[in-house]
Every structure is written in structure tokens, then in C-alpha cells.
Symmetry: C2
Subunit: 141 residues, 2 copies
DNA sequence: GACAGAATGTTATAGTATATAGCATAGCAA
DNA sequence: TTGCTATGCTATATACTATAACATTCTGTC
């Protein structure tokens, strides 16, 4: 029978989508062992690097809407991974608890391992250009 | 106040996710004018290039599970964009109807326009390497 | 000080994509 | 004939995202 023709094969936008889906599926699978979703892990990393940051601030950085940050941080707080302290206005300053710090360390290792496997697939001479190109694609849109 | 530090900034996997999300949001917004979702548009393009292809064949090509192809093709058939013909076994050979062909042409133009805007953001000398790198990231996982 | 506007957090709801499990049907091979 | 495989379909669950609406608190201006 005739092989199937793929008209999307050479579209960078489509390749971008497939590549992202593949990486995210792998990340989600590995984070499941820690009881974390990808979005939760990224929030933990942001809080670790910015103690006292507010939900809205995290949302702006990660491109997550305020409305979606609420249940996310509620889950993390419910598991005692983060603590909230009043920070002026209605804002809560978010900080990691001790168990939160330990889990964040593990999550960071999982992420670093996956990123390393990803980078291995890009020729060494093209890695910085590749990252620059990706950043250019979501900056300003 | 101290600027927020972004520990994810230089991770290609994270940049990949953000870039993909940005492009997909833009694509979804433009396809809404045609009453199509991204996945529906890609299915129409596959059928157009492979008349008589089965649902399962499309799913394998696009990475969509059989179970999710069923409601997708049902919607397209319900709008009389595709017709199904018996093709041995339980398989349906899918073909575009005349209105389906017209809509597919429009969808192709929308996609081509977006891809062109995307490519503009990549330096000309890096475009083929960029596409190759993306393909390497989802091949074999 | 009073008031309008902006920012924050929250709830509720919906839409899109994806995954798994299970089932029925049809073809194929031993 | 029997068993295996492929296909199509349904149901269900999970992530992520999007919008709308609301209350609360701060800020800037008069």
C-alpha cells in the first residue's frame, strides 16, 4: 500500500508542538513519582529562588493566570510544602517549608536530568542558538 | 523591590514548552474563525493528502490515540466536512467532501501564514538546523 | 479624609487535549 | 474452527487553560 504522506512534516510550528508534547509527557511521568505535576514543580522552583514572592508574581513569570494559581498554591499549602504569610494588601508571601525544600531539591534533580537528556540530542555547536530561537518564539507574543 | 529571579530561564525544555504554548494559542485563535480546532485542522490536512486513510492511520501519524480520534472524526463528519466509506474490516476510508476541501484550503492558508511568521523570528542561516533539532526531540521517545 | 481605580486572591464554570480501560466487530493465520 | 490482531467506539479521568464575577486591600488624587 502507498505510504502515508505527512504534509505537516516540515512545519517548524508543528515540530515544536510535537517536541513539546513529548518532553512534557516524559516530565509529567517522572514527576508523578514525587507526587508533583509539572506546573507545581515549576512553582516550587520559583518560590525557592524568590522567597516571599506572591502568587500573582509567579503567575506573571510562568504565564499562568491568577485564577489558576489559586487552586495550585492551595494544593501545595494543603500538603504543607509552602507557607503563606501576609505581605501587604491581600498579597501572600510564599515560602518553602522544610519538607517543601526537600521535595524541591528532588524535583530540581528530575528536571535537570531531563534537560540534560534533551540537550544531548542537540549538536553541541547549536545549543545556544537553539535556546535563543526558542526564546524568540515566545517573547512578545 | 528585588527583581524576580527565573531559575527556568535557560532550560531549553521549559523554553520549548512556552514557545509551543504561545504558537498553539495563536493558531487556535486564528482557526476559531473557521470553526476549527488545531487538531481538527491537522486531521483535515492529512486526509486531503491521503484520501481514503483510516482513523487509526491518522492517529499514528499525529500521535493521537485511537480513542480520541473517534469523537474528532465524528464532529467533522457531523459537519459534512468528511465522508466515511467502508474500507475493509471495521476501517473507514476517510475523504474530504467539497465543503471540506474548501475549508481545508482556508485552514492551510492560516497555518502557512503562522508558520511564515514563526520562521521570520529565526535567523535565516539557522532555520534548517532548528527544524532538525525539533524533530530529533520527538523522534524515538 | 473621601473617593476612584488598580491589584490581589478566590470561586465557579467551561473548553481542549490527552490517557486508560473496556467492549464489539471484522479480518487473518494457524 | 480457534485464537490473535486491528479497528472503531464509549466512558472516564487528569492537566492545563480561559473567562467571568466577586470581595478585599492598597494607592493616588482631589
Amino acid at each position: 500500500m502507498a505510504p502515508i504522506v505527512d504534509p505537516l512534516e516540515d512545519l517548524p510550528g508543528y515540530a515544536l508542538r510535537r517536541a513539546s508534547a513529548a518532553i512534557m509527557a516524559k516530565l509529567a511521568a517522572r514527576l508523578t513519582d514525587l507526587g508533583l505535576r509539572p506546573s507545581e514543580a515549576s512553582v516550587l522552583l520559583i518560590i525557592d529562588a524568590n522567597p516571599g514572592v506572591t502568587q500573582s508574581g509567579i503567575g506573571r513569570l510562568l504565564g499562568i493566570a491568577r485564577a489558576n494559581m489559586a487552586p495550585l498554591t492551595a494544593r501545595l499549602a494543603g500538603r504543607d510544602l509552602i507557607v503563606r504569610e501576609a505581605a501587604g494588601g491581600r498579597a501572600h508571601g510564599l515560602m518553602l517549608s522544610d519538607p517543601g525544600r526537600r521535595l524541591t531539591r528532588k524535583a530540581r534533580r528530575v528536571i535537570a536530568q531531563l534537560e540534560a537528556e534533551l540537550i544531548e540530542r542537540i549538536p553541541a555547536g547549536q545549543r545556544s542558538a537553539f535556546l535563543r530561537a526558542l526564546k524568540a518564539l515566545f517573547a512578545g507574543w
